[in-house]
């Protein structure tokens, strides 16, 4: 049955449970009802008194009266009016009250042009302030490198504190004072601690909280080029709107995608983008450290590939088409190809792919029994955000981890060594924490659990009720897409070919085998057998610095592509802008002709990987075969190309079934006396994000995190590929007998999470 009410005589459809304002906004009638404190994701509060409507009762006893639309449940045949003088007067007078203390600083305010308060003030027709007394002023707080505060602009809608305390469940931000002296901020100056703090910028309807990173290279928002994109910083694949101007990327905003990120983004998704503008980003091809021309580098590379002694290495950090393009080229040349840098990572990818359809984040938020394995917030913060939304609805949360993470503090925490996680996961089917639920969900950080743990997770899932779901998360945007076509044991075969001198050249795409990628220790021992390494990448990694040939590629907002997220959801992104520089000086082109006003645009951007691969195929006279293979692989995975504006398409379960029989490497046995390794990450850490100075300035110190009962200043860890000496950081949250190190540390040692490790402690002087 269709439900409608009437607003100024027009039918407004609604879903039972909606309030009048929500239904009116959904029907595009927000021009008639101005509002502030209501937010689609935060609900109604009734604090601002702005969304007045007049309600006509269906009897002769009750006269029409003004009420707040956000607090009025929509019901059938409700008669409401806004186009009447008293409603207009109410709107205008309330906004005048809200504007009493608001500074007239729109011309210098970063929010100008995207300010809800500005829009509503113009819409209601308030233009003259009757109050002529002094305005209330505040001292602003320094909230760290990401969010800028200008408290004088506040209209006390409480959206920020409702987001920060209720939705994001952060504890270091609040509302202070009473009456007309209310302020929002921290107890003292300092960076906001929540991984979701950047959303304050978007939920604030005016310029109290603005984007501090955007501020460094600011333009008016109406001058921005914007387009639909997908976040490349983890496997969740939140939808984003990058904004660029004059050929440089300036900011990232959320793009509403109800199934995934809803109205919000994590701080990594919002603030990691300066990798695109980093000074260290390679923009010109380099041959033996010397900048060179595109055609020269291509000729050199083509002749290298013609020798037939090249291996190919893809990356879960690169998009689907680029990986498939590389795979197709390897296939044409009958050369060995690997999608990931180690057999362990390959098994991990296969076990992730073998899991049945994972729940969307929207579904996670509706779960009533949740088990989280590992530090979810540090891998995929928005998945942690979805868990928080489920907690608000009364879900029961159990966290299995080797340290008391922030999520663990919100639920039942079971401290476990990484090696014990697998057994615990295998027994979860009979565990009371999942009993009696309507919709149980298990969420794992794939690396902490490891391939054998993910296998145990899949087996547990088979024993749970049919509606139980599980998801595994990594901090790479395209692990599923990269690993799909790679044959079993491909990484081992590639390394074997190098060991046996069948190949002496490696063509890598977006990988860092000599730096921080899994198995980098092994690659470093194999590197002397290489006669040359070619890398196509967009960041200045360890491998980029030692590569013989470096080919720069377009960053994600500068090109089109596809990512396959943790659910197997294939999402498309479009090019938002072209990297270019404004050249104002005529001597640059030296023609002597007058220039266009504002100078000429000089393209600077490197082309996408698919362009380079296509040109290589052409030079090798393989273009037709290459294109055919590429189209075939792509068509197999997604016969229907997703629309960048749409929700994407899901990989069918049937085409993932082959991974169910993939071999699971046995985990290394650990005795209770041995020290065991776990991975330490933080919410802003990721290869590309590490290039973003502002975000990276919040990164915790590097070290070995251990329980405080260890009385040592530093320690050296011994692994099969090398040693690692780092200071000891006492961490009360850690389980005893576990040492947490970053991914770079694992790469140096040649070990994996859950492995035993030998340690030499250095006592304090």
């Amino acid at each position: 049955m269709k439900h409608v009410f009437f607003l100024d005589g027009q039918e407004i459809p609604f879903i039972p449970g909606q309030n009048v304002l929500e239904a009116a906004i959904a029907a595009g009638k927000d021009q008639q009802i101005p509002y502030f404190c209501f937010h689609p994701a935060l609900g109604s509060l009734g604090a601002c008194r702005q969304c007045a409507v007049k309600i006509y009762a269906h009897d002769s006893k009750h006269p029409p009266r003004i009420t707040m639309a956000c607090l009025l449940p929509a019901s059938d045949a409700l008669q409401l009016a806004t186009l009447e003088d008293d409603v207009h007067t109410e709107h205008r007078e309330i906004i005048e009250l809200l504007m009493t203390n608001h500074p007239l600083d729109c011309p210098v305010c970063d929010e100008g042009g995207q300010c809800h308060l500005q829009d509503m003030t113009v819409q209601t027709g308030h233009s003259v302030r009757h109050y002529s007394g002094p305005k209330r002023t505040y001292r602003n707080q320094d909230l760290g490198p990401l969010v800028y505060q200008e408290m004088n602009r506040c209209i006390t809608c409480y959206r920020c504190v409702r987001f920060y305390q209720d939705a994001a469940q952060g504890e270091d931000f609040g509302v202070f004072g009473s009456r007309n002296r209310v302020s929002f901020g921290r107890l003292e100056d300092g960076p906001l601690e929540s991984p979701f703090s950047g959303n304050l910028v978007e939920v604030c309807p005016t310029g109290v909280f603005t984007d501090k990173v955007f501020r460094h290279d600011y333009v008016r928002v109406w001058d921005l080029q914007q387009g639909p994109s997908v976040c490349p910083h983890c496997a969740v694949g939140c939808n984003t709107t990058p904004g660029a101007r004059l050929g440089t990327l300036r900011r990232i905003r959320n793009r509403i995608r109800p199934e995934i990120n809803g109205h919000f983004l994590c701080d990594r998704g919002r603030y990691a983008f300066p990798y695109v503008t980093a000074n260290s980003r390679p923009l010109q091809p380099r041959l033996m450290g010397e900048t060179t021309r595109q055609d020269a580098v291509l000729r050199q590379l083509a002749s290298r590939l013609e020798e037939g002694r090249s291996g190919f290495l893809g990356s879960p950090r690169e998009d689907l088409q680029s990986n498939l393009g590389l795979f197709a080229l390897a296939d044409c040349l009958h050369a060995p190809f690997a999608a990931v840098t180690s057999s362990w990572a390959e098994a991990l990818a296969q076990q992730c792919l073998a899991l049945p359809q994972a729940p969307s984040l929207q579904e996670v938020a509706a779960a009533d029994r949740i088990v989280v394995i590992g530090d979810l917030d540090s891998i995929a913060p928005m998945a942690g955000f979805a868990v928080r939304q489920a907690l608000r609805q009364g879900a029961a949360l159990t966290v299995l981890a080797s340290s008391r993470t922030e999520l663990a503090q919100k639920g039942d925490y079971r401290p476990l060594r990484p090696s014990a996680l697998r057994d615990q996961v295998a027994q979860l089917a009979d565990d009371p924490c999942l009993q009696g639920g309507r919709f149980p969900v298990l969420l794992a950080t794939a690396e902490t659990l490891g391939p054998s743990g993910l296998y145990a997770l899949r087996k547990t899932l088979e024993k749970l009720p049919a509606n139980a779901r599980a998801g595994a998360f990594v901090n790479r945007p395209n692990l599923f897409g990269a690993a799909y076509f790679a044959a079993d044991g491909h990484t081992e075969r590639l390394q074997q070919a190098l060991r046996q001198r069948k190949i002496n050249h490696l063509l890598c795409l977006g990988a860092d085998p000599l730096g921080e990628d899994w198995g980098a220790g092994t690659w470093r021992t194999l590197a002397p057998g290489l006669d040359g390494l070619t890398l196509l990448d967009m960041v200045d990694s360890e491998t980029a610095r030692s590569a013989e040939t470096l080919i720069p590629v377009a960053a994600f907002p500068e090109r089109a592509g596809l990512f396959v997220n943790y659910e197997g959801r294939i999402q498309a992104f479009s090019p938002v802008y072209r990297r270019e520089a404004q050249v104002l000086h005529s001597a640059v082109h030296g023609s002597g002709f007058p220039e266009a006003a504002g100078g000429v645009k000089h393209p600077l951007g490197p082309p996408p990987p698919l362009f380079w691969l296509g040109r290589l195929a052409e030079m090798l006279h393989l273009h037709e075969a290459w294109q055919k293979r590429l189209d075939f692989y792509l068509h197999f995975l997604c016969p229907e190309r997703p629309d960048p504006e749409g929700p994407g398409v899901l990989l069918p379960d049937t085409i993932r079934a082959r991974f169910e029989i993939a071999a699971v490497p046995a985990a290394r046995a650990v005795t209770p006396e041995q020290w065991e390794l776990d991975i330490f990450r933080w919410y802003g850490g990721e290869t590309l994000a590490d290039m973003a100075d502002e975000l990276h300035s919040l990164a915790p110190a590097r070290g070995l995190r251990v329980h405080p009962n260890v009385q040592a200043a530093a320690a050296t860890l011994h692994g099969p590929c090398g040693e690692l000496r780092l200071p000891v950081i006492a961490c009360a949250e850690m389980v005893q007998g576990v040492i947490a190190i970053d991914q770079e540390g694992f790469a140096e040692l040649g070990l994996y999470p859950g492995d035993p490790v030998e340690v030499s402690w250095e006592q304090r002087q």
Binding site: E171, D172, F173, G174, V175, F176, G177, S178, R179, R186, L187
Partner: protein, 170 residues
């Protein structure tokens, strides 16, 4: 709630036991926060950082939540005060009955800004939200004692008594 400046140590066993009893007697620990703050303010004279964090850890609230409460209730003091606190109501009924004159006179007498401790250390004058004595406007509170209506003469007498330490609550 009077707030003569005092310096009871927060590690004092009897104080801690009393606070813990308050929390234990409460249906949920958070609900005890107002009483915990009252006891801490009596003991310390005002809620300093240390007391704020102790209140937070006893009740399981975050320090931010405790600060939200402290700043919302004007009877909670977050700065040191004099031996006597004079809270002068400036809400509408008292305002119309001349609260501004009372406030100005008290401030001039104290010789410092509102909220600060007078040089003698005897007095702090604070404007206050409605204390519910609209029928006796303009009204004020001396420590725990409500008084009103107050005019300039009675205020002069009161201030003299406070300075001479001879004022007694009725």
């Amino acid at each position: 709630m009077s707030s003569p400046t005092s310096t009871v140590d927060l590690k004092d066993a009897s104080l801690l036991a009393r606070l813990q009893d308050l929390v234990a007697a409460s249906p949920v620990p958070e609900a005890a926060i107002s009483e915990v703050l009252q006891v801490l303010q009596k003991a310390r004279g005002y809620i300093d950082e240390e007391a704020l964090r102790l209140a937070a850890s006893l009740t399981g609230l975050s320090p931010v939540k405790v600060e939200e409460l402290c700043t919302f209730y004007s009877l909670v003091l977050r700065e040191p005060v004099g031996t006597h606190v004079l809270r002068i109501c400036d809400s509408i009924a008292c305002h119309m009955a001349g609260a501004q004159d009372i406030l100005t006179q008290a401030r001039q007498h104290s010789g410092v800004d509102l909220g600060e401790v007078s040089r003698s250390g005897k007095l702090t004058v604070i404007p206050h939200v409605c204390i519910g004595l609209c029928d006796r406007a303009p009204a004020l509170m001396v420590d725990d004692q409500a008084l009103g209506p107050v005019d300039t003469q009675t205020l002069t007498r009161l201030l003299a008594q406070l300075e001479a330490d001879i004022w007694k609550p009725s």
